[in-house]
Amino acid sequence: MADELTPQVPPDQPRIGVDEWVASVEGKRERYRGPVGWLRRGWDTAPAGARLLAFVIPAAIFPLVTTEGNLFRYGLITLLYALLGLGLNVTVGFAGLLDLGYIAFFGFGAYTYGYVASVHTGHHWPAVPAILLAIAVAALIGFIVGFPSRRLVGDYLAIVTLFFGQAFVVFVNNGDRINFWPFNRTDLTGGANGLDNIDPLKLFGWTVNTTKEYYWFTLGAFLLVIILLYLVSESRTGRAWKALREDPLAAEVMSMPVNRLKLMAFVFGAAIAGFAGAIYGSVQTGAFPGDFDVGLLITIYAIVILGGAGSLAGVIVGALVVNGVPELLRDPNQAEWVFYTALVLLVLTKVRPWQKLVTVVGGTLALGFALVAIADAWFPRWTAGEPNTGKLAHWVSHWMLLPSHATQIANWAYALTIALILVLTLLRGWWRTIVMIPTIYVGAFAWENLLVEQTVGATRFLLLGALLVVLMNARPQGLFGTARVEIV
């Protein structure tokens, strides 16, 4: 009976009910042609070692070609963020536990290291035992916090850990006047002033001192952790975490020790944070309560989520973007390049077909030059402003109105940009294309006359936020995350 009813499908098409999804995915992969497709396929099929080299080689060349300051800002801080991201990736990415107290473990690492290696207590431990102690303390605290919370899921775990993270900040802020046995009148944490004069790392007679040396050391630590995590993620435990994250109930009826696995992930993440904390304490030769607050937590979460929770490569890329972009934007000249590159890329990739693309690009350019010409002829005040420094800003000044009384107008232009973007989302077809022209121009106007001067302050975070929104819209699963497969 059944066989008679089966519809006849041409042999080149997938059988009905079988592998349709797979076929469509493969089709998608085939669609990426040229360098993008080549890169994609290369990345998907490359062995893990080769993927790691793709990161290690540039990371090893970087200190040789850059200045001390850039190495610190772009290199060392990114590495520290990435190391922290790796730990959070275990708890959140592998096991799916929403841990909002993560930064406290980082703090415990830094304070523990400071406690055994600074003038504060007079101990000056060498790096290896001091770091091991920092890891052990962070892991132990992770165990203590995790043990009662291991039965909690989702929101409840988040609330408990958030409380723990904030309690840590309060504790270190007031830890300089602890007054109960056995700590009668003890200064444990240095209070609001923190611990300062923390020793540099002393490793078998080598004292890690310069930024370059710290960079190498942190790179080594990072590689150690990422290789370890790769092995763990491929192990039985790693897969069990993944299963637990996907479906706790199914994991339980497969008789996995769900609570023990959760606790393990929690402690594992805490230990890595402790490791990062010890390095951080020695890098900045101090540990201060303000360093371990919610701001950093959000940054690290942004890194893990942007990269794709559960992906190791994603953590690296996430850290590069989240730390690198605001640093790049610090300098108005660089910010100028970033802004216009992003704008051009956005228009080139998002506006289809080519007729509309030509309209938008041509229209925006024409609008700018026309406005400048009109202003030059009749309203000289509108072009009397000074162009910003840098070659690009100089070119842009031929196209952009630069009023001498810029600030007030630019504020309005900023508000108008937001309004226009909102309008854009409501429009379809050619109307959208037409309105895009003034939107881009008004946005660029606000940028040139207002935002670019404030890149050190608000602008760069504004742009980072916009970037994150755009990226998460384009790839909700994160840059390297696997798309969630819904089982129907």
Binding site: K242, L249, E252, M254
Partner: protein
């Protein structure tokens, strides 16, 4: 009482299960013998799933005992019962979507750390479902419904169960796949595993079962050999619509 003289594998004796104040299962008695295929039928909200949860220990009964392989396991944890030889194919299969078929099977054998034993388990499952061997590196979520059913059964069989519990195996499958699915169930049963199948599709479930039970609002209303149940007037009216 015993039909073919086999020993009792699972027995629920006088089970009362409550959710808060609500009495879900009332004085439920149910038995599965070694090597038997038993169907548990009932409409919506009749207590089928609660029965399974009680058997697995995901909910605790207020009164009564759950005996498995001659041992009272009433107060025991789910994972203990699974170690003793229960396994479940959950409702909607609940595969680990972004993991490969191989990894899904491995999760089924989570308790078995012995490398050689595990290899044999894989061989056994692959012999039953040759397709899974071909597809072992494919993500489970990308399989079709029928294939997912095979993975779910394979995953459950990886732990060498004495008793396989199946929750609504026909749910969410195209009619043609339902038939195929029950063929698979029969095949697994013939390999010597006792089964308890919870189903709404009474016709299908009884056609392959040795015996059947019918639940209605938490009470057993009918029980007996599958063939007799199929012909039973009330059941035909209530479920088979003929």
């Amino acid at each position: 009482m015993s039909v073919n003289g086999a020993a009792s594998l699972l027995a629920l004796v006088g089970i009362d299960t409550y959710y808060g104040q609500i009495h879900i299962l009332e004085k439920l008695n149910l038995e599965v013998r070694e090597g038997e295929l038993v169907s548990l039928l009932g409409g919506n909200a009749s207590g089928k799933s609660t029965t399974l949860k009680t058997i697995l220990g995901l909910v605790q009964p207020r009164n009564g005992t759950v005996e498995f392989r001659g041992e009272n396991v009433t107060g025991r944890t789910t994972s203990y019962r699974i170690k003793r030889g229960m396994a479940i194919v959950p409702e909607n299969r609940r595969l680990f979507g972004p993991m490969t078929v191989l990894e899904n099977l491995e999760m089924g054998a989570y308790l078995n750390r012995d490398g050689r034993g595990r290899k044999e388990d894989f061989e056994r499952v692959y012999t039953l479902f040759p397709l899974l061997k071909e597809r072992r590196n494919q993500l489970a979520g990308t399989l079709s419904g029928g294939e997912q059913q095979m993975v779910a059964m394979g995953r459950a069989l990886m732990s060498h169960p004495k008793l396989l519990l199946m929750d609504e195996p026909s749910m969410g499958l195209a009619p043609i796949l339902v038939e195929r699915s029950f063929e698979i169930i029969q095949q697994v049963h013939q390999s010597g595993v006792a089964m308890l199948i919870v189903e709404q599709n009474a016709n299908m479930a009884l056609s392959i079962a040795d015996r059947g039970y019918v639940l209605s609002t938490g009470r057993l209303v009918l029980e007996g050999p599958a063939g007799q149940l199929l012909e039973h007037e009330d059941l035909r009216k209530a479920y088979l619509g003929r």
